[in-house]
Amino acid sequence: MGFGPLLLLAILEGAVTAAVLALTAVGLSLTFGIMRVVNVAHGEFFMLGAVLAWFVSQWFPDAPLLAFLLAMVVCPLVVAGVAVLADVLILKRLHYEPEATIVATIGLLYIFQQAALSFFGPNARPVAPPFNFRVQLPWFGYSGYKLFVILAAGVLLLLVWLLITRTKIGLVMRATQIDRTTAKAFGINVDRVYAMTFGIGAGLAAIAAVLVVPIQQAHYLMGGDPLLLSFIVVILGGLGSLRGTLIAALLIGLLDGLLSTAFFFPPTFAKIVATLLVALVLVFRPEGLFGRRTA
């Protein structure tokens, strides 16, 4: 295979990773940006979405498309509900104190993992994709569903963007993000905004998981990577910048693949270099690529 097709494949694969990552990270960016909460359990919301998608798929073993569509609705709603409960019962009582919420969300992480282990089991379980077709390119074959994931994630991100910039809910969320006290003074129910934000953030992680689970099996420990990568993406993109989050996700998704392809680095070495590069970008632009510089 020539260099061109190799590059194309690296880009396609990177785009799939980036699409899923962007969705997950936008969820984290909302909770992080608006509530200033470091939610260590965000990856577990992702995991719960995937595990629930598997349960939904078991109800309709012969109709994967129906199961998929249902999962796209049910999983984010259920996970958002769990998140709202967690916010109201725990985080609110901690007054969103940063250190306390870190410990509390680590606690939640363990609770969710145990729940998945007990009710879902320790195995990695596959979910059938809603449709099966393979795109045969001249050099290699490629999963049609993966292309769909890129598209679907793009549409969902557009919806999130519309929600934040064009609706009253979005306005209220942005107002709360900029100044909590003033928002309160204007009669905004900050508690409700927080609960809603936490729910939406978790729901986005769950939706990303529903999209990814036909590619990447549900497993009770699958939440670790999305958490770490989302954090990196959110900070690298710049807090509160949707565009930055998206571009950072692309960067993270593509960087090590491109390094490996273009420079013939061994993959693990490419990952080390990519990690250090991103760290250095942050060192010299601590506010992220698209964040506002704070004086």
Binding site: G121, N123, P129, G141, Q216, L221, P266, P267, T268
Partner: protein, 426 residues
């Protein structure tokens, strides 16, 4: 130092009962080990963490083997009990759990660990506490000499031997130009090194080695590195992402011409071979230590073992066909327990003071016959390297089942000793 010249001649020469009594009066913690008391075996269980899929089945296998053993009169007439303790599949916790089982629960020995990092992290504790540690791993860490005299692997063949035994089948039946795909950490590196050497010895050649970073969840972009002239792809991915790996390999090649595939069943332990997306594996070959699907020529012992553990003919739970066993590895728990029984009885084991005698008794063993104690097959045991060597199976995916295509002999997997643990002091 020879076996006769140990540092505790009194305990060896004096009547066993007296020895136990003396020990008991000095160490109140050991009083449990009276001859009427049950023998207590500690089990390091991967109940949580990355090994949990194995842990569940290891626990079931151990429980079944224990029931059978107690029904047959226990060990030396004493009942046996097993204490399971979760190690979180973590080496640090593994060492702690070992201490807990050995010093708090007063277990006579500890066994059961599968994951290599847990075994390696725990082994130093075994030597410090002077408690036998019988691992069910398959890593080469025991026979390589890295560990110590208290650590033994009598229940399963190590990876170096497995790979060496199978290489001739690969090169003579599947092809001589091999591309290896493996995870870029120790387990994968073992395969890389041993198979590359074994393949060359057979006149084959490993033409590409593709190391996949351990944090990877998607694999497609590595496949273009597979050279076009590849005749066989040798894959040994492990962990929750393996199914993705196999499916993406299928998507990559599609229905067109593709190289032969040879994989380690580790990739698909606890996974149904008929899962959606795996159709592509039809006609490919796997290594299995113990064939998941019951073969036409299965022995009575094999049938009895399946029934005892609760596994159906397809290698799934007898009560839940979707619950696939880690069949190719879990026999090691059963067989290790058989070795413990034989060893304790040979050593005249009465209590903790006889732990060293137990290790020496196992070291004195030379092999195990196929039978209900060893349903996977006959094995040779090398007392110097503390390692068992058994037959390996190469199975082919045919009609949604794994069918044995070739059985290696025990001799195929023998290699020169790399250590003599019996020359080390206790």
């Amino acid at each position: 130092m020879t076996k006769g010249l140990t540092l505790t001649p009194t305990r060896r020469s004096v009547l066993a009962g007296m020895g136990a009594a003396t020990a008991a009066s000095f160490f109140p913690g050991y009083t449990n080990a009276q001859s009427s008391e049950p023998i207590r075996l500690g089990f390091q269980l991967h109940r949580t963490g990355i090994g949990a899929a194995y842990g569940r089945w290891y626990e079931r296998t151990a429980t079944a083997a224990l029931a059978r053993m107690n029904a047959a009169g226990g060990i030396g007439g004493r009942p046996v009990e097993i204490l399971f303790e979760d190690d979180g599949t973590d080496p640090a916790r593994g060492a702690e759990v070992f201490g807990k089982l050995a010093t708090q629960s007063n277990c006579d020995l500890v066994f059961g660990a599968l994951f290599s990092h847990v075994v390696i992290g725990t082994a130093p504790r075994a030597a410090e506490l002077k408690v036998p540690y019988l691992v069910c791993s398959e890593g080469h860490h025991v026979a390589s000499g890295m560990l110590n005299r208290w650590t033994l692997q009598p229940g399963i063949t190590d990876v170096k031997s497995q790979v060496q035994a199978m290489a001739p089948f690969v090169t003579s039946n599947l092809g001589k130009k091999v591309t290896m795909i493996f995870p870029d950490f120790a387990f994968g590196h073992d395969h890389r090194d041993y198979f590359t050497a074994a393949c060359a010895a057979q006149g084959g050649e490993v033409i590409a080695q593709i190391a996949i970073p351990p944090t990877e969840t998607s694999f497609t972009r590595y496949f273009p590195q597979i050279p076009a002239e590849t005749e066989v792809i040798y894959h040994v991915m492990v962990g929750p992402a393996v199914l993705t790996f196999v499916k993406e390999l299928g998507e990559f090649y599609g229905s067109g011409a593709r190289p032969q595939l040879f994989g380690f069943i580790d990739s698909l332990e606890a996974v149904d071979i008929n899962s959606s997306g795996l159709e592509f594996l039809d006609g490919s070959h796997f290594w299995e230590a113990h064939p998941r699907y019951k073969q036409a020529d299965a022995s009575d012992a094999e049938t009895a073992y399946r029934a005892a553990v609760g596994v159906d003919d397809n290698g799934a739970s007898a009560s839940d066909a979707a619950d696939v066993a880690t069949y190719s590895h879990m026999f090691s728990v059963w067989e290790t327990l058989s070795v413990i029984k034989a060893g304790m009885e040979a050593a005249g084991y009465t209590g903790a003071a006889d732990r060293q005698k137990l290790v020496e008794a196992i070291e004195a063993m030379t092999g195990f016959d196929e039978g209900e104690d060893h349903p996977q097959g006959a094995k040779t045991f090398n007392g110097k390297t503390h390692q068992a060597f058994g037959i390996q199976n190469i199975t082919k995916v045919e009609g949604g089942k794994l069918v044995v295509a070739h059985k290696t002999s025990v001799e195929d997997g023998m290699y020169p000793d790399e250590v003599d643990y019996t020359s080390q002091s206790f």
